[in-house]
C-alpha cells in the first residue's frame, strides 16, 4: 500500500497520534490488512448473503 494512502486513511480514521508516535506500527498494520483483503475471495454470486443472517429479533 502506498505510504501517502496509508497516511490519508490513518488520518481519516483519527490516528494522527499513532501516526506521529508509532509510524512503523501504522504502516505494518495497513500492509497486513491489505494483504488479508487481497487473499480473500469475494463471492461473485449477487444473491450471496452475509453471515450472520439478517433476521428480526425481539427488538423489532
Amino acid at each position: 500500500m502506498d505510504k501517502a494512502i496509508i497516511e490519508l486513511l490513518a488520518r481519516r480514521a483519527g490516528l494522527e497520534r499513532a501516526l506521529k508516535e508509532f509510524p512503523d506500527d501504522v504502516t505494518s498494520a495497513a500492509e497486513q490488512a491489505s494483504s488479508w483483503v487481497a487473499n480473500m475471495q469475494a463471492p461473485r454470486e449477487p444473491h450471496a448473503e452475509p453471515w450472520p443472517p439478517m433476521k428480526p429479533g425481539t427488538g423489532l
Binding site: 498494520a29 488479508w36 469475494a42 463471492p43 453471515w51
Partner: protein
C-alpha cells in the same frame, strides 16, 4: 491424599462429595504449588488467595451439612483475565484497563460458581486476547511448563500453562482465532471451542463479536465435558446465544469410534501450510490409531487455510477496530506493540471488505456443513509446529499463524484440540477434532477414544 495437584476435576469432585477430600485441603495444596511455581510460569495476573480459601471453607461446610451445590463443588478453577469476576480487575493483560474492576461475574463464571467451583484468580492472556507473547506489558507473559523457555500458546496462555502445570485442574479461556485450542496444543492438554452461541459471552471482554467463543481448558476429556455441562446454556441477554437445550456432554464418552466416519483434512498440513515432520507424523498416528479402533478414515477437502485465515482476519480486525478505535486514537502508547499493530489493521479495512468477508463466510459454512453430512467428525492439524522459544520473536512471528484453528471460528463449528504426542525435544504435538453444530458430545466421544488409546491424560510436564 498425595499428588493432589494431578487430580482431575472429576476425581476431585467425587472425592469431595464422598468426604474423602476436603476442598480446603485441595485449595491450600494448589495455592502452595502456585506460590512455588508461578514465579517461573507467570500464570496469574491476580491470585485471589483469601477469597478462594473462604469459598473452600464454605464448600466444606455445605458438603458436611449435606447440601451439595453441583458437580464442581469444591473444585478450584482459573479464569482468563478477559472474563469478569466480581470485585476483581479485568485488565485484559493491558495497561489500558489496569484499574477496571468488574462489578459482576460473567455468566460463565456465575454458572461455574453455581456448580460449586472455587475461583482461584485471574490468568495471563495475550493483551486483549490478541497481542502476545509480549514483554512490554504490565505483567510478563506466561511460559510453557513443558519447557519454560517456550511459548505456552495463546491467547489463553495462563489457562493453558496453569492447567498443564497442575496449578488448577480446569480453566476458562476464550477463542476468536484459536485462543483456547492454541494453548491446549502447546501445553498438551484438552481445549474446546464450543459451537458459536452455546456458551454465553456476557461479561467477557469482546475481541470480535461474531467470532468470539468461551471454552474450557482441562487435562482430560471427561473434565472438559464436565466443564461444558456447567457453563453451556441459553442466555437471553447475549444476542449471540443459541436457544438450544443444554446437553449431557459426558454421557457418550466411552462409546468408542467403531463404525464412525472420520474425515481427515490432510491438505491443511500437507500443502496449505506444510507442517513440521513430527507434527505430520503425529497426525497420521492419530488417524491410524482411530482406524485400528474401528473408525472409517477418509479424506476431506475444504477451502484452503489461506482463505479461511483471510476471512477470519478481515472480520476480526473490523470488529476489533470498532471496539478499540477510541483508545487507539487517544492512547496508542498504552498498548503493547503487538496488540497495537494487530488492532490498528481494522482502520484500513473498508465496510465493503467486511461485508464481502461475511458473505464468503456463509459460503464457507456451507462447504463445511456439506463435508459433515458425509462424515461424523473431522480430524486435522491444530498447530503446524511445536511451540516456539518465547524470546525468539522472529520464530514466534513465523510459527504463530501456521495453524488450522481459524476455519472453525469462521464457521462456528465445535472444535477440540488435544495432545497427539511429544516431539523429540519433549514438547507437545497436537491434533484437532471438529463436529457438527452442537455435536460436542460426539467430539468428546472421539477425543476420549484417542486419549484412552494414547494415554495422553497421563502425560504431565516435569515442572517440579
Amino acid at each position: 491424599m498425595t499428588g493432589l495437584h494431578w487430580l482431575t476435576a472429576v476425581e476431585a469432585a467425587e472425592a469431595i462429595r464422598g468426604r474423602k477430600l476436603s476442598p480446603v485441603e485441595l485449595t491450600q495444596a494448589l495455592l502452595d504449588r502456585i506460590e512455588r511455581l508461578d514465579p517461573r510460569l507467570h500464570v496469574f495476573i491476580r491470585l485471589d488467595r483469601d477469597a478462594a480459601l473462604e469459598a473452600a471453607k464454605a464448600a466444606e461446610a455445605e458438603i458436611t451439612a449435606g447440601r451439595p451445590r453441583g458437580r464442581l463443588h469444591g473444585v478450584p478453577v482459573g479464569i482468563k483475565d478477559i472474563i469478569d469476576v466480581a470485585g476483581l480487575p479485568t485488565t485484559c493483560h493491558s495497561k489500558i484497563l489496569i484499574d477496571n474492576i468488574a462489578a459482576a461475574d460473567a455468566v460463565c463464571v456465575s454458572r461455574l460458581r453455581a456448580a460449586g467451583a472455587i475461583v482461584l484468580g485471574k490468568l495471563s492472556t495475550h493483551e486483549f486476547a490478541i497481542g502476545g507473547p509480549s514483554f512490554d506489558l504490565p505483567w510478563p507473559p506466561a511460559r510453557n511448563p513443558w519447557n519454560t523457555a517456550h511459548h505456552p500458546g495463546g491467547s489463553s496462555s495462563g489457562s493453558g500453562s496453569g492447567v498443564a502445570a497442575g496449578l488448577f485442574p480446569v480453566a476458562l479461556g476464550s477463542d476468536t482465532g484459536g485462543s483456547v485450542r492454541n494453548p491446549a496444543s502447546a501445553c498438551g492438554i484438552v481445549g474446546l471451542k464450543p459451537t458459536y452461541g452455546l456458551v454465553s459471552r456476557r461479561g467477557v471482554f469482546p475481541l470480535s463479536f461474531t467470532l468470539d467463543h468461551v471454552g474450557p481448558l482441562t487435562r482430560t476429556v471427561s473434565d472438559n465435558a464436565l466443564m461444558l455441562d456447567a457453563i453451556a446454556g441459553h442466555d437471553p441477554l447475549d444476542p449471540g446465544s443459541a436457544a438450544v437445550p443444554p446437553g449431557h456432554y459426558a454421557a457418550g464418552l466411552e462409546r468408542g469410534v467403531r463404525g464412525l466416519r472420520i474425515g481427515f483434512i490432510r491438505h491443511f498440513h500437507e500443502t496449505d501450510l506444510p507442517a513440521d515432520p513430527e507434527v505430520a507424523a503425529g497426525l497420521e498416528n492419530v488417524a491410524a490409531t482411530l482406524h485400528k479402533l474401528g473408525a472409517d478414515i477418509r479424506d476431506v477437502r475444504l477451502p484452503t487455510l489461506g482463505e479461511f485465515g483471510a476471512v477470519n482476519r478481515v472480520i476480526l480486525q473490523s470488529e476489533a477496530w470498532a471496539i478499540h478505535a477510541p483508545w487507539l486514537r487517544e492512547r496508542p502508547g498504552d498498548y503493547g506493540q503487538l496488540a497495537r499493530r494487530r488492532l490498528l489493521g481494522g482502520a484500513f479495512i473498508s465496510a465493503g471488505d467486511y461485508v464481502q468477508a461475511s458473505r464468503r463466510r456463509l459460503e464457507m459454512i456451507a462447504v463445511v456443513e456439506n463435508a459433515l453430512r458425509e462424515v461424523d467428525v473431522l480430524l486435522c492439524a491444530s498447530a503446524m509446529d511445536p511451540p516456539s522459544r518465547i524470546e525468539d520473536a522472529a520464530e514466534t512471528e513465523r510459527t504463530y499463524p501456521r495453524q488450522a484453528r481459524t476455519p472453525f471460528n469462521v464457521t462456528g463449528h465445535p472444535a477440540l484440540a488435544m495432545m497427539a504426542g511429544l516431539s523429540s525435544a519433549g514438547l507437545p504435538l497436537s491434533v484437532q477434532f471438529v463436529a457438527r453444530y452442537f455435536g460436542e458430545g460426539m467430539l468428546f466421544q472421539v477425543a476420549r477414544a484417542w486419549e484412552h488409546a494414547a494415554g495422553t491424560d497421563e502425560k504431565h510436564p516435569r515442572i517440579d
